[in-house]
Amino acid sequence: MYEHDVIVVGAGGAGLRAAVAASEAGADTAIVTKLHPVRSHTGAAEGGINAALQEGDDWELHAYDTMKGSDYLGDAPAVETLAQDSPKETMNLEHWGMPFSREEDGTVSQRPFGGLSYPRTTYAGAETGHHLLHTMYEQAVKHGIQVYDEWYVMNLVTSDDTDPNDRECHGVVAYDVQSGQIEGFKANNGVVLATGGPGQAFDHTTNAVSCTGDGHAMAYRAGVPLEDMEFIQFHPTSLPSTGVLISEGVRGEGGILYNNDGERFMFEHGYANNSGELASRDVVARAELDEVDAGRGVEDEYVHLDMRHLGEERILDRLENILHLAEDFEGVDGLVEPMPVKPGQHYAMGGIETDENGQTNINGLYAAGECACVSVHGGNRLGGNALPELIVFGKRAGRHAAGDDLGEPQIRTGYGDDVEDDDTDLPVQPGAAGIETSDGVAADGGVTADADGLLERAVERERTRVDGLMDKDSGVQHAEIRSKLQKAMTDYVNVFRTEEGIKKALKLIRECREEYQDVYVDDPSRTFNTDLQMTYETRNLIDVAETIALGALVRTEFRGAHWRQEHQERKDEEWLKHTLISWDDGEPNIFYRPVILEGQDKTYEPKVRSY
């Protein structure tokens, strides 16, 4: 067994920031991560970090844009914290050596991004995430933080109190991918989940293969509600063949979208008469699909993004990486031809429910980064708002887990007296969240054991599970189930959603769940068994996909990225509330908590979102 004060699961921007903060607060901190830190998906972020740095801009404008962008589903205390802390945290990165792009006077450059009233996106070429990730990892090295890399976290270890709000998290169970050894990691102070997004629930995604929602599923099974899972961002400009992202920076710098008739459709067909290409992402994604649907798509599938007019010098200066991506992955030279683009799954606005200190309803369990939902993005995330979330809330989670007092949170978590129960009769019977019984909550039989006992039992259970998976020599393989699941989600829970489609998806997800009962691992080796790892991941994807589809089904309105054919309006009287799905007694339970629109000095009144 390994033991530390704070254990951070995941080493992307959020995990590294949490670990550095915890270490600075004096905690013995370790990171457990399935990928070496510099391989984390944060490295793929291109566009930039929003921070109100310049005169003429201020955090209140940033907060206002974010609330508006969220379609009034962001919680004001979280949004204001993001806007207030981001400038300082961004400057911190600069002082840690991050190579931001510069103006002539040596100050950091900023550029316009969709949905922002001021050009406040701070960037490092079109490789902002790469630089952020490496800069953060350098700090972790500097602090001597212990990193268990290529260790896959299989489950959380929590006490077994009946009410999830009374449970405590004592650590995690993980296995060393290189050796297959399964061990317990005891956390004396707290566990911070920073496992990133669940993009692999879809088959056309900008997300890495490692983005399998492991943290989501582990927290869910342990009794933490997942919040606003229906809000999935589809980025308007991904390459059709692979899903590789073409940064919003291209449109920020003046790139133009054309349909097959050569029309600048954002204006010509009235999708966003003011902002055009720089309208918010959900708007542009729908516009593109509408164009394709109207027969004006290229090859009936995508549209064109053109940056040729920006000139070679500017493109090389600010968007060079985009040229490489278009060339390597689509065979297109962005300097002489327009690039093909279509919407692709990109970001999960929802996630593990936390308060503004990163804490969940389970004592000692924190979450930060894309796996968490504080909630700052609400119904739709503005480009450039995820990276500040990593550093702002990663830091807070790390500090709080290390024992620093950050004050009373205003956001409440878990099932409580401020929630509203869902009384819709679910038209489909969703499957149970766990594949086997006695999962998630560490101890069996209602006995609350001490931390060490809980850890031992949890380790034992994972060892038995792995033996079971490996001893079986026939059955279904994870790859088959995974691709069926991804297809179901892409076909039915995509940009456009209908009740009938979502129900079909839920039925298919349930089939995946049943097939999973018969899953087995073909590779007999304990050494670097990716077959085993992907089998674990696939199970997590099933849980996450189900919550996305359930959320999409119950939210009978049109808000942000969540479009419902039968409900073409935003219903503020009924739906200014978060969807929460928790796993209780072996099945998903849905409830709602009102959105907090009161900020420090003002209340954000829902307004029509126009661009």
């Binding site: 050596g97 040596g106 708007v283 209908t498 691992v521 979102r609």
Partner: protein, 294 residues
């Protein structure tokens, strides 16, 4: 069903186009229906095409734990070719469809995570960045040379990481701003430009694997670590003292002077970092500094 939705105008009017869906099916739904009803027999077409053209892969296999794989061997896979297919796509297909024990690292599929550097037809390449169509068949895929093989295409990266860490890879100016100060350090665009290429390294280890000197001298810092040090040493934001400290690390016996300018690292770097040039520049800096001292 169409009339009902039409009468409801969405409150959020950013997209006047949305209500024009006329309650009709979503584009996805329509395409799906077309497919299901066989209107577009895309699938069959694709299969036929694919059957025509397959890619022949010869993939290195080894597993210390599995008897049949203890003796290293090559396995043949015939994977249906698709336009735009990369080496990574091909091995993923082979794994998912033919042999789930086929093992390799990969994650981002877009040349930023650095995990899938392989030895492809005799050269270090990123799998995800290498188009199959550019390669001669059969395509031989092996783990990176000069690194211990853990299993199949997975090599032990510990030594590479150790060398990266040996150059103290973190910024060393200690003037983090006071609580609410927002003043950044200044860096000229020219200085940023100077370190730009060096800052692109994704730690894929292709360069280290291609370097003859590194192969013969286990202690040689190697091109990636030296390049990492270059990034800091050339950044004007660090002080002169720290730069001198960095140069001292680089000048040691197994540092920059080991490089014999064979350019193999520069040739294979998937991020086009001019590694050899950076190493030469550091040699010159070290000489300049020493002249000053003596």
């Amino acid at each position: 069903m169409s009339t009902q939705q039409q009468q409801q105008e969405p409150e959020s009017q950013e997209s006047p186009k949305d209500p024009e869906m006329k309650g009709a099916e979503s584009p996805q739904q329509r395409r799906l229906k077309d497919k299901e009803s066989g209107m577009v027999d895309e699938h069959a077409e694709k299969e036929a095409e694919a059957a025509d053209e397959t890619v022949h892969l010869k993939v290195f296999r080894y597993d210390p734990e599995v008897e049949a794989k203890q003796e290293p061997r090559f396995d043949d896979f015939h994977v249906p070719f698709e336009k735009g297919m990369t080496v990574l796509d091909a091995v993923m297909y082979a794994r998912d469809e033919f042999d789930s024990s086929l093992t390799f690292r990969h994650s981002c599929r877009q040349a930023v995570c650095g995990s899938d550097a392989f030895f492809v037809n005799g050269t270090q390449k990123l799998g995800c960045k290498t188009q199959i169509s550019e390669l001669e068949q059969p395509v031989r895929i092996e783990p990176l040379p000069h690194q211990e093989v853990v299993k199949d295409l997975v090599v032990d990266m510990d030594h590479f990481y150790d060398q990266m860490h040996a150059v103290e890879p973190y910024f060393q100016d200690e003037d983090t701003p006071e609580s609410d100060e927002l003043e950044e350090q200044r860096q000229t665009p020219e200085n940023r430009e100077k370190i730009k290429m060096s800052s692109r390294c994704i730690w894929c280890a292709a360069c280290m694997s291609s370097c003859n000197i590194a192969a013969g001298d286990n202690e040689y810092l190697g091109p990636a670590a030296i390049n990492k040090a270059y990034k800091f040493a050339m950044d004007d934001r660090e002080s002169e003292d720290i730069k001198a400290h960095r140069l001292r690390i680089l000048e040691q016996e197994h540092g920059v002077w080991r490089c014999q300018t064979q350019f193999s690292c520069t040739e294979v770097c998937p991020k086009d970092i001019p590694l050899t040039e950076h190493i030469q520049e550091l040699k010159r800096e070290a000489v300049k500094k020493n002249l000053k001292f003596w």
